[in-house]
Symmetry: C3
Subunit: 379 residues, 3 copies
């Protein structure tokens, strides 16, 4: 094994974007749909996919099974061990000691940041999903002309809770990024809020999404933006982060913007990270979906022009703890592979390679989020 891989294996990662896992034991019917961004389809097992073979290859051994174990054996052993032990094993194996957890999606079903931290023996921080805050404000009842202030107050209250280190928007899902980049006027917001409070449903009004993004700027915390790959609720081409350019111009000098996932627009994201001081990126979610076999190829594209202080690690694990392990493994293996290859070709010095590995795996996130206390056990 090369020196870069050894260093990355020894490095405790900061996972700057993840979710909880389902807080219940999972049978096959419950487990399989969590493997995929699609649904479970009759006659087609979600295991018959790149992520499925990666789970059987890389997760089975952690459950004391042979590599490439059959699905039935894998699920039986999983049940036998019980969800807490399974979670503990994968979280420990991930070698992650700081987790930034998006708590705004399906919080009732998922483990909390505290549970993740305890199982991992690390620290967990919270990322506030602003769409959930806005939808809570609407659900609680609000006059249209009071919406802007009520949302701002609720968001402020949410981010002032202890251990909150950032906010997140899923604007990519709701409208995509072809938005008027300007901050909407009060009158526009009130008008849009009138429609929304009458109509209900999730926040997907373009004016209110813009208002949400600008409120995020006011909050002053790092802002995570889902871009690219997701479930079929995305219109992928509208989630190309290049479409954020006008908004990034208007908000330059304010908060750090962290482009999540990015695939297949990792080069577009890299461009933004190269030309806007406030822009960072990761290829989370993608890493476990493409698996260790392709993580290096995706990372190589993401890193073609990305300044080395701008790449972060995230697993975007959701639902099953396997993804904490698989994301970390794919990241380490992929990044080490490409850096070591460059060291071996004398395109990069070993000290530089090690520095880049530490930055991407840990220090860039620390620099952006300024964790109040990221010592293990600090949660």
């Amino acid at each position: 094994m090369g020196a870069v891989r050894e260093a990355l294996d020894a490095l405790s990662l900061v996972d700057h974007h993840c979710h909880g896992t389902v807080a219940a034991d999972l049978d096959r019917e419950a487990f399989e749909p969590l493997l995929t961004e699609g649904d479970a389809w009759p006659g087609v097992s979600p295991f018959d996919s790149p992520v499925g073979v990666a789970v059987r290859r890389h997760c089975a051994p952690l459950l004391d099974l042979p590599r490439h174990a059959p699905v039935e054996q894998y699920l039986a052993r999983r049940s036998e061990l019980g969800r807490r032990e399974v979670q503990r094993r994968f979280l420990r194996a991930s070698g992650t000691d700081v987790f930034c957890v998006d708590t705004g999606f399906a919080p009732d079903r998922l483990t909390t940041p505290r549970e993740i931290a305890e199982a991992a023996g690390g620290a967990a921080y919270e990322v506030v999903r602003l769409e959930s805050v806005a939808e809570s404000v609407r659900a609680a009842g609000v006059e249209p002309d009071a919406y802007a202030e009520a949302f701002r107050a609720a968001a402020l209250a949410a981010v002032r809770r202890p251990r909150v280190v950032g906010v997140k928007s899923v604007a990519a899902y709701r409208t995509g990024f072809d938005l008027d980049p300007a901050r909407p006027s009060d009158a526009e917001v009130t008008g849009a809020a009138r429609h929304w409070t009458a109509r209900g449903g999730r926040l997907d009004d373009p004016v209110l999404v813009r208002h949400l993004l600008w409120t995020a700027v006011d909050l002053g915390l790092p802002l995570q933006l889902h871009t690219g790959f997701g479930d079929n609720d995305i219109r992928l081409h509208r989630a190309d982060p290049a479409r954020l350019t006008d908004w990034l111009h208007l908000t330059a000098g304010t908060v750090p913007v962290l482009l999540l996932h990015c695939w297949p627009y990792q080069r577009q994201a890299a461009y933004l990270a190269a030309v806007f001081e406030q822009v960072y990126l990761d290829v989370g979610l993608t890493l476990h979906h493409v698996g260790p076999a392709r993580a290096g190829a995706v990372l190589a594209e993401a890193l073609e022009i990305t300044p080395f202080r701008k790449l972060l690690y995230s697993s975007d694990a959701y639902g099953v703890p396997e993804f904490f392990h698989l994301g970390a493994l794919a990241f380490r293996q992929g990044l080490a592979g490409l850096l070591q290859e460059r060291v071996d070709a004398d395109e990069l010095s070993l000290p530089d390679a090690l520095r880049i590995a530490r930055w991407a795996g840990r220090d860039n996130a620390r620099r952006v989020y300024r964790f109040p206390d990221d010592s293990p056990g600090g949660s």
Copy 2:
């Protein structure tokens, strides 16, 4: 040679999308333009391209010539053997025993499915190009308010012919995919048909293209959609299959949708195949144009997240029989290369690799098209 390549070489492929070849002997002037999606340009030989060097490398030996034979020698030998023998050699070499032939483009110039089947010693089925059906309806004369029903009746008659297994649309060429996804009303169709029947020309009215796509849904057969790469009649960015997302939502649960070609949007196509049950993809056409030297790289991107039951093989051979051989070779070499590499790295078990190879090369197509009789010689 690795075990995966051996297995793929021994596998009889299903070529789920191809065309006939020109039913005439071809001199250099006639042959060269068929090598390319461009035209023949003065001073630039179409042989000076990736597909050109692939033909000289991989097709020359089948004509008893050395690898990399000069163009003149290649064309002279081709003429000497005659078109039937040339066709027979390339079709046999392709190791394909089922062909789904798009019969809707230039049928007067091209060999029929029966001729392909006989030369290959395999079976051929037919794919009905719906734009050609619509244009025939218009050419035969139809009142605008009778167009919808006349087109539907003609399409139904076309697909009820024996050996028809699917339909195809070239909407990508006519309007691109930025269409209102909803089924158009009868009044809209009549209005658009009034303009079209008066104006003539090919079917490129957005309302009528939408109507065609929805009629395809009603027909109940697998629907092939050209996406991505083609000749200069395409606006490439409008043929990005991600732009079909809204329409795929509305038509979920109806017919299988097979995204053809896809390049350079193979990742976007893979995303759709991963999140929509009804979506499948191939990288036909691309395979012979990029040649065996790059087919593996393109397939690797296409497979990054594609579920293994969703990738199909097609040659999209058109005009010259070389492309049946070259497409099949590029597919086998590219897919075997990437699967074997993963087996060698222990990222994939050999049984899984062999299963994926069989699915992509044959069984996924059988599952989608349910050929009535795909035994060799069954045509």
Copy 3:
């Protein structure tokens, strides 16, 4: 070293698109921002990027320093040698004997084509940036209804100067390519000129940009178009060259169109080069930004379907002479790597590989630009 690399190392390149370098000695504060398409950001050195490590690896030895020299040492040695010696070393090392220099951006700060030619021991030609011509016309004062003719006359005068071999447009920066492709009417141009002459500022009116592109067609010289990657003034997705398709149809049969940079749309550019006779491409700028470690991967995508007479070499060096060397090195190393790999795999014959290398590095540019005198020392 393989035969292809040897041949490419021995080949004097034609750099069909570059700029001058800053005609002053540069301290760290002045040097670092020139390394990047972004600005210099507090706490983040532009050296911590792919281009930065490539400079330390490949440029340091030309300054008599060890590979991967520390930044401070690199800059100190650079100062010690002085800008003329530094420029001479990098230009000589580039092995380039013909330069086409865009003289329309920041000409007061930059070395002239003559200086470049002298330092390199080669010949330099000039490329006229049409936006600069138009802005000079406006700055000199022009009535709106005289603008079209004044611009045409000024452009004609500019291109009739000795050693002008082409024109360039940065329409990608000003409006992007989602333009009405048709030539604007005189009335439209006058109306737009009225607004522009009143408002001032740079040329970014869509009608005037269209007019500029059509005036370029009238001039009859090869037209270079910036596409894809640039600084944050670009909206990357609007600089996708596929969006030029309608305009390319309308202008087919007129002037050669050279798509510059292209990344990350190199496949889209390759498509256009494959289907439009008049379209050519390079991946300049990208080559030094991604560095030799990734230049081969980008070139491999660019060459997937590009006819071999359609790829050109450019450095797009700007500001610092390092980029002449780094661009040439990345091009030679990347192209030789991919061609040699194909020769080794017997996918390509060695004579074909050598021919492709000569075409891309030199002869395709000679064919397009028809240099009046490109013998070394001819400037």
